[in-house]
C-alpha cells in the first residue's frame, strides 16, 4: 500500500464534501473505494443530525478525470507510489 494525497475538484468534490484526504491505496481504484467510504461517513453524520434514515447511493467515479503528480492517468488500475499526489476532477466547460 502507498500513502497518497488525494485532492478532489469539481462536481465530485461538491457531491462528496471531500476536498483533500491522505489515503492508503495500491491502485487508483482503491482511492475511489476509500473516498466512497469517507463520503458515506460524512453523509451518515449529516443524516443523524437531521434524524433521517435514507441510505446514500455510492458516489460514481465513472466521470473522474485523474491526474497523478500532474500527469493525466486514464488507467484506474495504475499502481501508486508513496507521496503521490492524486487529483480527481470532473469534465468541465464554461466561458
Amino acid at each position: 500500500m502507498a500513502k497518497v494525497t488525494v485532492k478532489l475538484f469539481g462536481v465530485l468534490r461538491i457531491d462528496t464534501h471531500i476536498s483533500c484526504e491522505e489515503i492508503d491505496a495500491e491502485k487508483v481504484l482503491d482511492i475511489f473505494a476509500a473516498l466512497n467510504k469517507k463520503a458515506y461517513e460524512i453523509y451518515s453524520k449529516t443524516l443523524k443530525k437531521d434524524n433521517e434514515t435514507k441510505k446514500p447511493s455510492p458516489i460514481s467515479f465513472r466521470s473522474a478525470v485523474v491526474f497523478i503528480n500532474g500527469e493525466r492517468c486514464a488507467q484506474k488500475g495504475k499502481r501508486l507510489c508513496d507521496n503521490d499526489e492524486v487529483w480527481i476532477l470532473s469534465p468541465s466547460s464554461g466561458g
Partner: protein, 650 residues
Amino acid sequence: MSDKLLGYMGRVLKVDLTSRTFEEYPWTDSDRERTLGGKIMAADILYRHIEPGMKAFDESNWIVVSTGPLTGCGCPNTSRFNISTISPLTGIVTSSNCGGDFGLSLKRAGYDAVIFSGRSAAPVTVNITCSGVTFDDASDLWGMSTSETQEQLPKRAGKLVIGSAGENKVLFACVFSNERTAGRGGVGAVFGDKLLKAVTASGHKIPEVANREKLKKTNAKWTKLLMSHPLTGRQLPKLGTAGLIAPMQAHGILATKNFSKGRFDGFEKVSGEELAEKHLISNAACTTCVIRCARTVKVDGKNVKGPELETLGLLGPNILNDDIEIILKWNYELDELGMDSISASGAMAFAMELKEKGIWDCGLEFGRTDNISQMLNDIAHRRGDGDILADGAKRMSERFGGKDFAIHAKGMELSAYEPRRAVGQGLGYATSNRGGCHLNAGYLVVVEGLGLDVDSLTPHGKAALSIMFQNLMESVSACGSCLFTSYAVLPGFLVDKPNLLLTRAVLACFPYVGPVVNLLSHFTKAPAVNIPLLPHSYAIKYATGIKSTMARMLTWGAYGYNIERISNIILGQKAGADKLPARFTDVPQDRDNPKTKVPLERMKKVYYRARGWSDGIPKYRRLKSLGIDIDKEFYEKIAEEAHQNGKGDS
C-alpha cells in the same frame, strides 16, 4: 405553416441620435432567412453600411442591437441579444452578446433589432415602446454607476446602460442589462461617444410561432437535455464557469503571470470550489435560463453578481493574486464602472510585466493588490496612468514596447486560457473575427482537455474543428441562444465516461476528422438532417417555419463568419492579421517540451484552405458561393490593399 416567417416581430427600428428621430429599417423575410438573426443579422446590416476608413468614434458608425428568432418563443436559454458596432479597441467589427432582459423587452416592444446612428448633442435615454420612441435628457444620469442608472429607469422595462467607463470612452467599456454584460470590444465606449447613456424597451407583444405544439415538445426535450447533460446539468449549475480553474491548472492552461506560465501554485484559493464552498449565496441566471451558472456573492454586505472564470483567472493567477475576496470586490467595482474585466485585467497584467522588465512603472506589480481598486477607477475615469491603460495592451505596447508579451489578438486582450497547451484554442484566438475571444474563437479548449480529452498539443484536425465550432457557435448565437447550450452537442457518454476504452478510441480519432469536417462544410447538403443533440435547429424550424437543419446551421455560421471577416477587411484589417503574441508561437511553455507552443502558421495554412481564404482574406468566389453580395472591382481593390498593407507584417 404560414408563408410569412414567424418567430420574428418583423420590424427593425432605426434611431437617429443626431436628429432624435426614428424610422423603420427595411428588413425582409429574405434577409431574415439569409442571416437568421442576432450577430449574423447585425453583421449583415453593418456590412451594408460601413465604408473603408470608417472608425468607431465616427458619427457615421452604427450600433446594432439585435435579437434572435427564438427569443421570446419559450425556448430555454434564449434571452441572449447581441450588440455589434465598429470596435474602438480593435478598429474592426465587434459583436458582444448579453443575457440581460433587454432583448426580450425589445421583442415585446415589437422589434427584432434597433440601430442607433448619429450622435446626440447631450446625454440621452432612448425609450422604445410599441407606440414609438421617446428621448429623455440623461444629464442627471451621467456619472452614475451601472446599477444606479438602472435603478433610475422604469422597473418593468428592459434596460441597456453604461457606466463611467463608457462615458469616458475607455476602449473596453461594456454595456449592462440587469447584472449581465455585453462585455467585449468596447461597445460601451461607442454608446458613450454617442452620449447614449441608456436605452429602455417595453411592450406587450409576443412573437407568433410556426408550430406551437411541436415547439413546445422541442422545448421540453431541450430543457431535459440541458438539465441532464454532465456539463450544463451538473458542472455549470454547481460550480459556474469558475469551476474551470482547477481543470485549467491540471492541464497547464491557466493563464499565470501575464500568460508566461500555465499553472499557479495558489490556484485553489481562487477556484470555483472555493467560491462555491465559502462565498456562494445562491445561483443566478439570465432570463429564461435553465442552467443557472451565474453566482451571487456578498460584497460589503450586499448581494451582488459573482465573478466568472475569466475574472477569477485574470485578476487571480494572471497577476499572481490568490485573494478571492478582493477579486469579488474588484469584480463588483468593474461592473459598477461598466468595464470589461478581461481587457482591464489584461492591460494591468501587461503593465505589471513592463514594470518587472524595467520598461514602465505605473505602480502596478505582480502580487501587489492594494492599488488595483484605485487603478480601476483611474482607468474608468481616464485619470493619470489609468488613461494609458484605458487604451488596452496593444496601444500600450506600441507606446512602450513589449509587443512579444502584450497579450492580445487584433487588439483585444485574451481570455484566461493559456493556449500553448491547447493549440487549437490558440488557432481560434488568432483567427477569431473580433480578436482575442475564446468563444468567437470556437472554444476548442472544451475538447482539448476540459470537457473531452482530445490531444491538446497536436495541430492535426484543429483547423477543421475550429471552423466547425466557430460556424456552429455563430449560428447558435444568432438564434438568440446562450453559447453554453452548444456544449450539449458533445455526446454525454463521451463527457461522462472519459476513461472508457470506447471514449478514448473515439477521442483518438478526433485529430483525423479534418477531411470529413471539411467535406461537410463544403458540401452543405450532406448533413441535411437534424440531430437531437442540437435542438436549436428543430426549434428554429418550429418557431420560424424556416427549413432548418444541421447543415443550415453551419451555413448560417459560415455566412456570418465570412461577412464579418470581409467587413473587417473593408475597415482596414491587413492580411496576416490573424496573429498571436510571439510568447505563444516562439517560446515553449515547457522548455523541455518543444510541442508546448502554438504551431500557428502550420495550422493557419490548413484553416485558410478549408475556409476558402487567402492569408485571412475571403476569396471572391467563396463570398459569392455564400451569397455575400460584393462588387468584384471593389473586392479586388480592398483585397489588394489588405495584401499590400500586410506585407512584412505577417
